[in-house]
């Protein structure tokens, strides 16, 4: 059996009134810098920058997971590749954001094409296990690259420059860039899922055989979706490196990949903004718990189990459909 039975029908949550909750989420995120400045600290801007960056990766992953029905358990590897793209270039004195993004694309696209082509030939369980194994492969690669810090990670001297100027130096400016890129990502994914391309992807999830009979070359569609979602994760990785001024093998550990999947399921599988909501809730929970106890994972673990058992439609799915059913 495949995972399709576990997925809600995207059409059910994509009602005409499905947009306002998304706007609500983005309005809240846009208010964070003002609240943070009012409180006299940049802490909340940094925290929410990280949340938005991982939320962006989750939105990207959801393109293949929620809409395409392909459970990739190695997607953090592209976050890591994006982070190392920034780290490696910075180390050689190339600090321009454009150059970083270009280098990220030059790394992520071929890697995703190769891994996607091999993994997508398998189905269901095989795909889960193989994407996880590839994630581990790149984790080991990063750990053993001693010239780039090995398992201690790679410290980045300063945030990327735009046209030679330090436009992103202030937390607010960086926050603005992340928010804008996040909104753009959400819009692109939303548009893609409603395009003929996205419908083929969803159709393949619901009935692979039917789509094959209709003559669609599914491997090509799925590979394209896989590469797009990898590039989004790579972009998130670039931003994460710029935020933390650090690139670490931990960015691509399998627990990071699993956390991305947990965000998606918590927020809502068949929705564009759901994974972002999942990221906000999960990472805020993590932040609160880890400030109180070193053993916070002992609570987060069972929380994820509870999400599986009880959040069948996801937080955002419940929110959006609740609104949609109003007269």
């Amino acid at each position: 059996m495949t995972i399709e039975t576990a997925l809600p029908n995207p059409a059910a949550t994509r009602t005409g009134r499905g947009i306002p909750p998304a706007l609500f989420v983005f309005a809240l995120l846009a208010a964070v810098p003002f609240v943070s400045t009012w409180l006299g600290t940049s802490y909340y801007m940094t925290l929410f920058s990280r949340i938005m960056i991982l939320g962006m990766a989750a939105i990207g992953l959801n393109l293949i997971l929620g809409f395409g029905g392909l459970v990739s358990l190695g997607h953090a590897l592209y976050i890591g590749v994006g982070a190392y793209a920034v780290g490696i270039l910075s180390r050689y004195g190339i600090v321009d954001l454009g150059a970083h993004l270009a280098f990220m694309l030059a790394l992520v696209v071929p890697v995703a094409c190769g891994i996607g082509w091999v993994s997508l030939r398998t189905r269901g369980l095989g795909f889960i296990m193989i994407t996880m194994a590839f994630g581990q492969m790149f984790y080991f690669l990063a750990v053993s690259l001693k010239i780039y810090g090995g398992d201690e990670g790679l410290v980045i001297q300063a945030r990327s420059l735009i046209t030679g100027r330090g436009l992103l130096e202030t937390p607010a400016a960086f926050y603005g860039l992340v928010l804008a890129l996040l909104a753009a990502t959400a819009w692109i994914v939303h548009t893609l899922t409603r395009s003929p391309f996205g419908l083929v992807l969803s159709g393949a999830r619901q009935s692979e055989q039917r789509m094959r009979t209709l003559g669609y070359p599914l491997l090509r569609y799925r590979l394209a979706a896989y590469v797009i979602s990898a590039v989004i994760a790579g972009l998130a990785g670039c931003l994460l490196a710029d935020l933390t001024l650090f690139a670490s093998p931990e960015y691509m550990s399998w627990t990071q990949s699993g956390t991305l999947v947990a965000m998606i399921v918590l927020g809502g599988l068949g929705t564009t903004v759901g994974p972002l909501v999942g990221a906000i809730v999960l990472l805020l929970l993590e932040e609160v718990l880890s400030s109180r106890t070193d053993h916070w994972l002992v609570i987060v673990g069972p929380t994820i189990v509870a999400i599986v058992l009880f959040a069948s439609r996801g937080l955002y799915g419940a929110l959006a459909s609740g609104r949609g059913s109003e007269p």
Binding site: A6, T122, L145, I147, V261, L297, P302, V305, I307, V308
Partner: protein
């Protein structure tokens, strides 16, 4: 490089293959019969190692330690299956993956709370702490005993699956579980039995590995991922495939770690080779996996695709 070095590297590879087989045999049965993805299998390995190390410290008896690991993880498997995993049986792979991922985070932290943040170390049993002479080299007796134990377990498992009534039901369940259920077999009890067997095998592997590794939180994760590679290459649900693939994976890994640094050193500057050697060696098995799957998506040893 001497022939002795080569033999001892290959024996190390064989011994690692036995670990992978013990892990993969249990997991592939659970996958085949229950169609269930259990990422917490690595946690069971870890818990087995912790129980063995902790009970060896108290009892000073290796037999007690190993028995504790097997029984403890078996009971833990029964508990997990009864409380949670049976409910996820029909829930689809995504939910199974995520729930068992949550369990892994939980157990990795739980062992830190119960046994403290620093690693535990376990001594070798006195009877096996020496070395023996095989193939013209002296080799640690304990490691050789692991290979022997692995072969015994493999034979026992083969007999169980192919020569007993419960084994027949396991094979039938893997082929068509609905038909087996219709014939009046209590499929839940069968599932529980298979799950406990898999858990106990993982606990056994952990207990046996405890004297060779530092017993610490997260030690099961890398083993789990290599186990998944073994299962994919062996063909999901195939015990025989798991055995062949485990030995294959371990030998390729050992050969990579032995030869790749040497080859690189002959090709490039020594310092560069020393930097690149471990990187290439640790990636080798994944590259081999990618190539094999590109050619044969159903796995290398699979008799049937699934």
């Amino acid at each position: 490089m001497s022939a002795q070095f080569l033999v001892s590297q290959m024996l190390n590879g064989l011994q690692f293959g036995v670990f992978l087989y013990l892990m993969a045999a249990g997991l592939t049965l659970v996958l085949g019969v229950m169609n269930f993805v259990n990422l917490a299998h690595g946690s069971l390995f870890m818990v087995g190692a912790y129980i063995a190390a902790a009970s060896f410290e108290r009892s000073e008896s290796f037999a007690v330690a190993l028995l504790g690991a097997v029984v403890g993880t078996g009971l833990l498997g029964l508990l997990l299956h009864g409380t949670l995993l049976a409910r996820l049986q029909q829930a689809g792979h995504l939910k199974q993956v995520l729930a068992t991922f949550g369990l892994t985070l939980f157990f990795n932290e739980l062992v830190r709370i119960v046994w403290g943040p620093s690693s535990l170390y376990m001594q070798l049993p006195d009877a096996l702490s020496g070395t023996v002479a095989v193939f013209g080299i002296t080799y640690p007796a304990y490691r050789l005993a692991i290979v022997g134990a692995g072969v015994l377990v493999a034979i026992g498992l083969w007999l169980l699956v192919h020569r007993t009534r419960i084994g027949m039901l396991i094979r039938a369940g893997a082929t068509n579980r609905d038909a087996v259920e219709t014939l009046g077999v209590n499929i839940n009890a069968l599932n529980a039995a298979v799950f406990v067997l898999g858990a106990a095998l993982a606990g056994f592997a952990g207990g046996v590995a405890a004297p060779l590794l530092s017993v610490q939180s997260g030690m099961g994760d890398p083993i789990l991922i290599l186990t998944l590679v073994v299962i994919v290459l062996g063909g999901i649900g195939s015990s025989k495939g798991a055995f062949q693939a485990a030995i294959f994976v371990a030998l390729v890994d050992a050969a990579g770690r032995t030869f790749i640094p040497l080859i690189l050193r002959s090709l490039m500057d020594r310092s560069l080779a020393n930097a690149a050697g471990p990187a290439v060696a640790s990636m080798l098995i994944y590259c081999v996996m990618a190539i094999i799957l590109a050619v044969r998506p159903g796995g290398l040893f699979a008799a049937r695709g699934r």
